[in-house]
Amino acid sequence: MGPTVAIAALVWAAAAGATVTRYYGPAVLVPGAGGGSAYDTPCERWVANDMVRSVPSLGTVAFVDLWGGWHDTLKSWGTETLQIASRTIWTKKAHCYNSWSAAYWANCSRGSVFINTCTPA
């Protein structure tokens, strides 16, 4: 099941032609478990958060602030959940979470944009 998830993520990256980096998986997420990325920076902001799962199920993606608060959270049924946000100039990490009742393979990626005139932190 894992390779199927990985291939789906690669297709996503190729189609977008944008900056996409996997931050979790392919790996098994048990119910209530999640995976997270590093925090973004003033020069590269996370704008998209994508979770691909091996079986139809409930999955959740969110951006998490420095205090652990969740924003732009999205849950859906199926094998993929994608959130794209346009209010991005705040410090965040991408997070994906198994909100279902069974374990599944997951592959989570974040998409980013580069901020050309930024001052590195």
Binding site: W70, E80, G111, F114, A121
Partner: protein, 197 residues
């Protein structure tokens, strides 16, 4: 591995962010720091990222008004198989995809929220999506056991906005129930768990 930004829409978004950000400052919370992106810009990004068949993108409804804005609800097949439901507002897009849109369930939906992860910390929560043609009515079951009717549009799309008073009490949607003609229940979709406090 980072590739160059080649999609025109994403490049436009990047340029807008640069102008609006006052880059270099380390902002620490989300805020209205930039003009709202257009529905079309976000939709174009999703079409590319998900590999949707743009020619078959079908808008089922545009629901909602201020303060939270219009929610455009779409369905579209993927070029490589599968299908997605998309919910687009002025500043974000959510998509849920499955090999068969109404495969296991008669409702394709996304639940968007702000301010979690716990129920009591949630400040906004919406359920939106499309029900299959055989669904005639829809109800949301809340975590306190109460149920609320969710109106369906002519295209069988819907938008449910959680009451702020419910969220303050930690009450969130727990399940969706779908009914066909005559009021017979044909589907229940548990909406899963939220992380512990």
């Amino acid at each position: 591995v980072h590739a160059g930004v080649t999609r025109p829409a994403l490049a436009t978004l990047t340029a807008t962010l640069v102008v609006a950000s006052g880059c270099g400052s380390l902002a620490t919370a989300p805020g209205p720091e930039r003009p709202q992106a257009a529905h079309d810009e976000l939709t174009e990004q999703a079409i590319a990222r998900l590999g949707l068949d743009e020619a078959k993108l079908e808008r089922r409804a545009a629901i909602g008004s201020k303060p939270h804005g219009r929610h455009s609800i779409y369905i579209a097949p993927k070029k490589g198989g599968g299908a997605c439901v998309l919910v687009v507002t002025d500043d974000r897009l959510g998509a849920g995809c499955n090999p068969v849109l109404f495969g296991e369930h008669d409702v394709a939906f996304v639940e968007s929220s702000q301010g979690g992860p716990t129920a009591r910390a949630t400040t906004e929560l919406r359920l939106a999506g499309v029900a299959s043609p055989r669904v005639r009515s829809l109800e949301v079951e809340l975590s306190n056991g109460l149920r609320a009717q969710v109106p369906l549009t002519a295209g069988n799309a819907f938008l449910y906005e959680a009451a702020v008073s419910d969220l303050r009490d930690g009450v969130v949607p727990a399940a969706l129930h779908a009914f066909k003609g005559g009021g017979r229940q044909i589907d229940t979709i548990p909406l899963g768990s939220v992380p512990p406090a």
